[in-house]
Structures are given as C-alpha cells and as structure tokens.
C-alpha cells in the first residue's frame, strides 16, 4: 500500500505521540491486568494486600497478599519501569491462599494486587507505598 507523503508524516507523528503519552506506563499495567483477567470485570473485596506505608528503602519492600479461596494472585508495582512483580498460583496443597515476598519499588507508587477467585471472578486492591530517598545516608 502506498502512503502519500502527508499520510506517512501523520503516521510518524501519531506513533511518536503515542510513545510520549504519559499514560504509557499505565498502558503496561492495563495490558498485564487484561492478560490476567481476559478482560473480565474486576470487583473488590476478599483480597488483602499488606505493604508498609513508607518504605525506608525501595530495594526491599516486604509485602503480603491473601485471598481465601483464590486460584491465583498477581502483584504489580504500577510505578516501576516494568510493573510485573509476581503471580502466585496456589496448588492443591496450598495451606492458605496467601504469600509473602519482598519487592523493589523504583519510587513512591501504588502497589496493586488482582486475585482470580475459584468461581472465575476477579477482585483487586491497591495501596500507595511511599519510597523515600534518604539523601544523606551515603
């Protein structure tokens, strides 16, 4: 297909504009959520995310997710260059549908968890974690 010069320029402009949109990072998050849920509606409730309000250091932030009856729980660091943190898939011998780990947060951001429940429904929860940069501790 042959484009006119005008069309080519407009396409290039559009492409550039798309990459410069502030929503780019959120697009990654949306894509990951959509992949996990298959586009299904997401509700609330039955999923707990425990994370500190203030993380003295972004390298090692302890978090815990828990959703009784869930099949899997996805955790996203929505403000990181790559938001993916983990997807916990619970097997038949899981003693509880909960798990703890430590994640890296590049800056103050919302940490989000989405759970897939046994009946195929989805719920989500998110919490802001402030990440401080000490500034003097070397």
């Amino acid at each position: 297909m042959k484009f006119t010069r005008r069309e080519t320029m407009l396409m290039a402009l559009g492409a550039t504009a798309a990459t410069m949109l502030p929503g780019r990072a959120m697009a990654d998050v949306d894509a990951k959520v959509a992949e996990f849920t298959g586009g299904a509606e997401i509700g609330e409730g039955g999923l707990t995310l425990t994370a500190p309000e203030i993380a003295e250091n972004g390298n090692t932030v302890p978090i815990e997710v828990s959703a009784p009856g869930a099949v899997s729980i996805m955790v996203l660091a929505t403000g990181n260059p790559t938001p993916g943190a983990a997807v916990f898939n619970f097997g038949p011998l899981a003693g509880a549908q909960s798990a703890s780990t430590r994640i890296r947060l590049a800056k103050t951001q919302n940490v989000m968890a989405v759970a897939k429940m046994a009946d195929g429904s989805f719920v989500q929860v998110s919490q802001e974690v402030k990440v401080t940069i000490g500034g003097c501790g070397g």
Binding site: V87, G91, L93, A99, R104
Partner: protein, 109 residues
C-alpha cells in the same frame, strides 16, 4: 550467568497429618532487572529467576511466576498442608536456563 546461587529453605521437621505449616524460602541471586546500566552506559541485560515452585510428594503447593520487581535474593513465605510423611521439593528456574532444587523431608507422626 549468575554464579554462587544458593537456595535455603526452612521446613519444620515434623507435623501432624493435615496440619498447615509455614514454609520460608530464600535463594541468593542478584535478580538483575534489566534496568541498570554499566560503567559505559550500556544496559545490563535482564537475568532473573523467573519461576519458583514448591511441590510435596508430586502435588503442587505453589507456583510463582517471578518478574524483575522481586528483590535481590528472592524470599517467599507461604503455607502448605501436610497430608502425610514425605518430601518438599523446591525448584527455581533461572532466565539463563539453570534450574536449582532443594529437597526437605518432613515426618508426619
């Protein structure tokens, strides 16, 4: 290629049948996120543990897909039901193809 990758797990030695126990696991691994730059300004390529599984006597307890936001020396804490005497197998899968395993037995009495 990560060297000196050592797994470490904490599993109780005994349990009663059907008891829910807490497992803790750790593995030394830099979890190179792919975001850092070296001295010359080149991006250091991503090299992380991308999956962790825990099975008990061939049944799955947990299967974790891991991405770069997991901290260096990945740590997990989770619960397992222990139906009978047997062994827990912990497996970590590295981006570079290596697979690390740790096995711990538990007695149900």
């Amino acid at each position: 290629m990560a060297d000196n990758v050592k797994p470490k797990v904490r599993v109780p030695k005994t349990a009663s049948a059907g008891e829910v126990i807490t497992l803790k696991t750790l593995i030394s691994h830099p979890m190179e996120s792919g975001q850092r730059k070296d001295g010359d300004g080149n991006l250091i390529p991503r090299s992380i543990i991308n999956r962790f599984t825990c099975d008990f006597n061939e049944q799955n307890v947990i299967d974790v897909t891991m991405e770069p936001a997991i901290s260096t020396n990945p740590y997990f804490e989770f619960q397992a039901i222990v139906p009978e005497t047997g062994a827990f197998t912990f497996t970590w899968y590295d981006d570079d193809g290596s697979v690390y395993t740790e096995v711990q037995e538990i007695t149900v009495g």
